[in-house]
């Protein structure tokens, strides 16, 4: 298929295609980080993860309207405020959900799956009642739209760069939080041995709540960022759920690095396949490969081998 093109054209395309893969990678990382915290560290299956993301998107939508109407001068930077607010709002909802629901279910992971699925239905209906069934259009500041021409032929989407920077930033933040802070130590201690953690004076209830809230908050930020590249509607969250879970599981639950590595491999596979095959078949092949590998290596790519 490439015989008709000049060398420079091909270079340009491959560069951009590589970039497309990186954007997809960043999207996967953003989707999966919140879940990796919640599922990996707490063992909770949050099927409402997508709805937490959409909550962040709606926050962004409301804020964009607010700034357009009352603070047009600051419109160009509203997006940062929106992301911060999305974190707070989704996190607060997460905190409430943990308190009302999740904390009663820590010993029944499959039941958290059903309960959070119920939660996702409720949230969808709430969004529909509040914001209407239609998708809402989120206005993005002008500077975030468009592309940077690197050469004559290579153009890099600005929102792609933004998503990538954000993915790196949040990954680093989460890494620091989980592996370099006292709080992260506590979370991991609880994950390893809840009773012991309790006994040595870690406030497990509070730590659980914060972990869940932060996971949801990160989802909210992801949702906020995705208003640049995707749709915001009551049921849009469901589009993400299968991909997100596969990324986390494929990476090996409990391993942040694994999640990132798995996001990288899945995104590259999908992006390359999409380039050479039709979109649907690329998707099917990617999913099949992931499921196939998971069957061969159920603990995921990066799970540690532990004494049982």
């Amino acid at each position: 298929m490439f015989s008709d093109y000049s060398m420079s054209e091909l270079t340009a395309i491959f560069a951009m295609q590589g970039f497309a893969g990186l954007i997809l990678f960043s999207v996967f990382v953003l989707m999966a980080l919140g879940l990796a915290i919640i599922f990996g560290q707490m063992g909770v299956i949050n099927m409402a993860h997508g709805e937490f993301m959409i909550l962040g998107a709606y926050v962004t939508y409301l804020l964009s309207n607010f700034f357009e109407a009352y603070l047009p001068a600051l419109f160009s930077i509203y997006f940062f405020i929106a992301m911060a607010l999305a974190f707070v709002v989704s996190g607060a909802l997460g905190m409430f959900v943990e308190w009302a629901m999740i904390r009663h279910l820590y010993k029944r992971p499959l039941d958290t799956l059903l309960a959070t699925w119920g939660l996702s239905l409720i949230l969808q209906q709430v969004y529909r009642s509040v914001f209407g069934a239609r998708e809402v259009g989120v206005t993005i500041p002008d500077w975030m739209i468009g592309s940077l021409p690197l050469t004559d032929m290579i153009e890099i989407p600005i929102n792609g760069i933004f998503v990538m920077v954000l993915a790196v930033g949040i990954s680093v933040a989460v890494y620091v939080m989980m592996y370099r802070s006292r709080w992260g130590q506590q979370v991991r201690a609880i994950n390893n041995n809840r009773v012991m953690a309790d006994a040595v004076g870690i406030n497990t209830a509070w730590t659980d709540r914060m972990t869940f809230a932060i996971g949801c908050g990160v989802a909210g930020v992801a949702g906020s960022a995705f208003t640049m590249i995707g749709s915001t509607g009551p049921t849009a969250g469901q589009l993400y759920i299968v991909d997100t879970f596969l990324v986390v599981v494929f990476g090996g639950a409990g391993s942040l690095l694994g999640t990132i590595a798995s996001a990288f491999s899945i995104s590259q596979a999908q992006s390359i396949l999409e380039f050479f095959l039709s979109g649907s078949m690329a998707k099917v092949l990617t999913l099949l490969t992931v499921v196939g590998i998971l069957m061969l290596r159920p603990q995921g790519l990066f799970a540690m081998k532990l004494r049982k």
């Binding site: 540690m304 081998k305 532990l306 004494r307 049982k308």
Partner: protein, 250 residues
């Protein structure tokens, strides 16, 4: 080369090694168990005692070494095949089926109907019932057959688990801390039970309670950092300066 059919030993472990991410929990371990022997494995925490049992019964896969049991290469077999070959294993924390009655617990361990369809069409006939009652008598639970296992005391659960192994009549029985959490009276009864059991088979026991070890042990193996530190009769081991150092030293 290990002679898998050596009739002098029931179990032969040679050069057994397992490493978890580089950490060698069991390191080039060898020991031999004779018929009708009661071997007690002792050692400080983290010595690799439970891991050894895990390796023998197939719960953990070995990195290197050989385990021979009556001509079988246990390292190549699945857990259930190892059980069928005649190795029984009791876990450290009593694991019985709490939702089922004592009777059903024993029945599930009865060595018949182990295939899918065998289980589906398994009939609870006279022979089954008699055998279960016989075992129940032995493990002091004859009056508790109808009870849900969840309601048994900790010690009774330990006995039940031993009973679940006995009903299979294994040639090698491996017990991980069988008297942990038992009262003094219960310990005595358990020692009695074990002595009766040993008559027909070999037993490997992990235990910390030295009094209890003295009551039952034919020979003792001391593990330290995944290796054999000392082996022999109770007396000999107790007087081995290396053992004394590990237990009392530093």
């Amino acid at each position: 080369m290990l002679d898998y059919n050596n009739p002098n030993f029931v179990l032969m472990v040679e050069g057994l090694t397992v490493s978890f991410d580089g950490f060698k929990a069991v390191n080039d371990l060898s020991f031999y168990v004779e018929p009708n022997e009661c071997r007690v494995i002792i050692g400080p925490n983290g010595a690799g005692k439970t891991t050894v049992l895990d390796l023998i019964c197939g719960r953990t896969k070995a990195t290197a070494g050989a385990v021979a049991f009556k001509g079988h290469d246990l390292l190549k077999m699945r857990e259930d095949q190892i059980v069928h070959a005649g190795v029984g294993r009791k876990f450290q924390t009593p694991s019985v089926y709490e939702d089922l009655s004592v009777f059903a617990n024993l029945e599930l361990s009865y060595p018949k109907g182990h295939g899918v369809f065998g289980a589906l069409f398994f009939r609870r006939d006279q022979a089954v019932r008699e055998r279960i009652e016989e075992i129940a008598e032995m493990i002091f639970l004859k009056d508790h057959l109808a009870q849900k296992a969840a309601f048994l005391s900790h010690g009774q659960k330990q006995w039940l688990e031993i009973g679940m192994l006995l009903i299979q009549d294994p040639e090698l029985l491996m017990l991980d801390e069988p008297v942990a959490g038992m009262s003094v009276a219960e310990r005595k009864k358990t020692a009695e039970l074990l002595n009766r059991i040993i008559a027909d088979r070999s037993v490997i026991v992990i235990e910390h309670d030295m009094g209890f070890v003295e009551d039952i042990a034919t020979r003792v193996t001391v593990l330290h950092q995944g290796k054999v530190l000392s082996e022999g009769s109770m007396d000999r081991v107790q007087n081995d300066p290396k053992v004394i150092e590990v237990y009392l030293g530093h």
